[in-house]
């Protein structure tokens, strides 16, 4: 099962979700169409930014989706528990799981991605629920949007450089061009369209040849689980 790592900081905030295992990356990519962004230095080529290595960063909406689906381990490190002390006291040099004594790597000291002891055990439900609770407001609209996109068979990467929340793909970005620039939802009933930014949005879409997607959220009965998302696509007519 895929393990997602999160740190809970002393001030009560959480770190972005990270994935530290190549096999997990493959599962996410092939089973869930979650690609994420590699953010670490690629050990075999440390002087460029085009090809990177673990950790893989995935969006909050995606990790919430995975957690709610019960298809991942969510491992939350509590900073105030100061796990560093435990690490030292519980393990001596001899049974250090990270220490590498492989025969085929004689003379080569490996630094592992993860400590095997940390994998395959999820944090308890209380911690996980706290985490879900913490992000509820922030993801009130974006999480339903993400689910809606999944139902339309669109997979996503972060989109800030195209001036949107997500860039949408019809399949794996390794092979397919993105087709949609998807914007943060607004309130379907209340929020007024900002026509001026609508114009620059649509013009940008024309220039980069992608469809601009705007959306409205409707909260039914005030319950967060029942947020309905309506999608609209915006396109410059080519005249006027």
């Amino acid at each position: 099962m895929v393990t997602i790592y999160i740190t809970k900081f002393d001030n009560g905030t959480y770190s972005d979700p990270c994935v530290f295992n190549v096999a997990d990356l493959i599962t996410l990519r092939e089973k869930f169409n979650i690609y994420g962004n590699l953010s670490g230095t690629l050990p075999i080529n440390t002087q460029q930014n085009n090809f990177l290595y673990l950790p893989l960063k995935i969006s909050l909406d995606q990790s919430i989706y995975l957690v709610k689906l019960h298809s991942v381990n969510l491992k939350i490190f509590n900073q105030s528990n100061d796990n560093t002390i435990n690490l030292l006291s519980n393990s001596t040099l001899n049974d250090n799981p990270n220490a590498n004594g492989n025969d085929d790597n004689i003379g080569f000291i490996v630094t592992n991605d993860t400590n095997p002891n940390n994998e395959n055990n999820s944090s308890d439900d209380i911690l996980i629920n706290e985490w879900l609770q913490y992000h509820q407001d922030k993801t009130r609209f974006t999480f339903p949007l993400y689910k809606k996109l999944l139902s339309e068979h669109i997979s996503v990467l972060p989109g800030s450089r195209f001036g949107c929340r997500y860039v949408g793909y019809p399949g794996d970005p390794l092979k397919y061009h993105s087709q949609y620039l998807i914007h943060t939802p607004i309130d379907y009933h209340k929020d007024k369209l900002d026509l001026l930014s609508l114009i620059s949005t649509a013009r940008l879409g024309t220039v980069v040849k992608k469809s601009q997607v705007i959306s409205g959220c409707i909260s039914n009965n005030g319950s967060d689980n029942e947020v309905e998302v309506k999608l609209f696509t915006l396109e410059w007519c080519g005249f006027g």
């Binding site: 997607v213 410059w236 080519g238 006027g240």
Partner: protein, 124 residues
């Protein structure tokens, strides 16, 4: 010196379509809906196709929604409005409308709004 014309914007957009963009069969639709004091009314017409620049709809006709935009005031259009235009003012098979934004600088700019997702053109 001062004239109050009902639906000046509607007329402006209609004239623009007919006499500037040279659309055909342009008509102002009768049905209206009101939203926060603003009246929404469609214009229907047949654009002059210039090769690939405009890709045709099955209907062949376009439904144009004139809206006003001001440099210093907020707009009034919500996504609910757009949905209502689709459901109350358009035939059911219409999948897109054209938003004609009449700016207070005199220009009118035109944007398609599709219900749901619409893929970008494949080649260009």
């Amino acid at each position: 010196m001062e004239i109050e014309v009902e639906n000046e914007t509607l007329k402006l957009v209609r004239n623009n379509l007919v006499h500037n963009l040279l659309w055909k069969e342009v008509e102002i639709c009768d049905e209206t809906i009101s939203f926060e004091g603003e009246v929404l009314q469609l214009i229907v017409g047949r654009p002059v196709h210039d090769g690939e620049d405009i890709h045709e709809t099955k209907v062949g006709k376009e439904y144009v929604l004139p809206v006003e935009m001001s440099q210093y005031q907020d707009g009034y259009l919500t996504l609910e409005c757009i949905d209502q235009v689709f459901s109350k003012l358009c035939p059911s098979e219409v999948e897109r409308i054209i938003l004609a934004i009449a700016n207070d600088d005199g220009t009118v700019v035109f944007y398609y709004i599709y219900k749901g997702l619409h893929k970008p053109r494949k080649n260009n």
